[in-house]
């Protein structure tokens, strides 16, 4: 079985590689400071103990007040997988450094995250809207982007007691 490294284990590896790179730790994930992200992942990729060589999954998550970029990185030799996260609190101009210099596989997934969340990745060689077209209004996977006018949630209509999730604290794009 692939061992899922817990948050403190990943944080210990990251701290050993680059001191001061961990922002906070939860049970499952290790939050890295954006300014140390590239350096830490580079160090963990080359260290034989961590050996995190294969960036499996990269995606964004929107939590209304902040956004996160999630990295699942695994090792073939050690057969373990680590979960890193980076937070960005700016909704107008969210930026997270690109890990493309370390993992070429981030190229596609960072483009996709930019396309659907609007998170810019400084350092990415060619950041463009990969699925939608340039000039598409808004960023579709953000929670304040309503897929239907009025915030209708078509599939959830028949479940009584499903209250609307949260009052959008930000300006809604319709």
């Amino acid at each position: 079985m692939t061992r899922e490294l817990s948050g403190p284990e990943v944080a210990a590896l990251a701290e050993a590689a680059v001191p001061g790179s961990v922002a906070k730790t939860t049970e499952t994930a290790c939050y890295l400071k954006p300014e140390h992200l590239v350096q830490t992942l580079e160090a963990l990729k080359t260290s034989p103990e961590a050996d995190l060589v294969h960036l499996t999954n990269l995606c964004g998550v929107d939590f209304w007040d902040h956004m996160e970029v999630v990295y699942h990185i695994q090792s073939f030799v050690q057969n373990h997988i680590a979960l890193f996260k980076v937070e960005t609190w700016d909704r107008e101009k969210p930026e997270v450094p690109s890990v493309t210099p370390v993992f070429h596989g981030a190229w596609m997934q960072e483009n996709e995250t930019y396309d659907l969340y609007g998170i810019k990745f400084p350092g990415h060689p060619n950041l463009y809207r990969i699925l939608l077209w340039e000039g598409y209004p808004g960023w579709p996977l953000r929670k304040d982007f309503l897929s239907m006018p009025g915030g209708l949630q078509p599939g959830l209509g028949e479940f009584a007691g499903v209250a609307p999730r949260q009052e959008p604290p930000v300006k809604v794009i319709e």
Binding site: M1, T2, T28, V53, H54, L55, T56, N57, C59, V61, D62, V70, H72, F76, N79, L83, F103, H104, G105, A106, W107, M108, Q109, E112, L116, I130, L131, L132, W133, P140, L141, F145, S147, Q153, P154, G155, L156, F159, V162, R165
Partner: protein, 369 residues
Amino acid sequence: MTQTIKSEPFILNIGPQHPSTHGVFRIKATVDGEKVIEAEMVMGYLHRSMEKLAEERTYTQNIPFTDRTDYLSSMSNNLGYCLAVEKLASIEVPARGNAIRVIMSELQRLASHCMAIGAFANDTGAWQTPVMWAFREREKILDIFEVTSGARLTCNYMRIGGVAFDLRPQFEPMVRKVLNDFPPFLQEMEDLLSGNEIFLSRTRGVGVLSPEMATNASLSGPMLRGSGVAWDLRKADPYCGYEQYDFDIPIGYQGDSFDRFIVRLEEMRQSLHIIQQALDGLPSGPHSTQVPLALRPPKGEAYARIESPRGELGYYLVSDEGPAPYRFHIRPPSFINLSALREMTVGGTVADAIVVLGSIDIVVGEIDR
């Protein structure tokens, strides 16, 4: 008197409507004569924003969406999503449900690889004969799916906690027939293609990827194994009881298009072996556990992945205890496998670009989602 012939760069659109792009996918290739000097991918023609739609529907309602991402392997896609929800809500699947899931996903691998190999032979110039042979065999598997789930392509058969229905009485004889018919067909394909001079010269040394490059570009599935990295999630991170079955991981040594083809062919033999074992030891008992229709998993996140025919298919779910996933992310293998396309095509000829694209085995429904 000598004459110098000059050439100048020229932009050539391969696709979107072109049979070699396996759907609506476009390569904007800059060519200098016959040589590709720059390749840019243009995609999104099939984008349906499935992730946004899925965040507004309940966990059970989302299963049919997963059929429509990778429409050539809907069973595997159903399975990956159901595993992610089960991981999030800590649901156990009965032994019979697991065995049926294994048989179905391996049958799906056979069907999908038939399509991959047939279409790849088509791209290299073996016009229509191999693809027709492959379709003849794939049809038998689709018939099994029709008998079991009622649909041939978008099966919607897996459920959270097991599978939708138990197997029909005619299921076992039909699978046994496939097990009998496939080895001669695979031998036939191998005789036709892998010793064929034209096929070899079209695929050997085309689109070579080193193991380091394949790992760094996050490739998975036959793309990664074709480059010599023995990484198969069925062995490395077993799900659905794959650890009970005996099978090998075929790998390639040169990392070219031919190796990816031969890895797929050999994987089909291993799949037959797994189906044989699972069918012989099919446990009795319930096929599914009861799961509430409006499932509300506890707060948290889960990333579950399976070895789909095209590579590592992952689902990342975040729950806020609501009836719908707060975040629904698909890690599509053929989308990420494309990240090495530029490296493989630039420097080769236009005809080689088609072969390389065929060897990646893309499904555009999965790339664009």
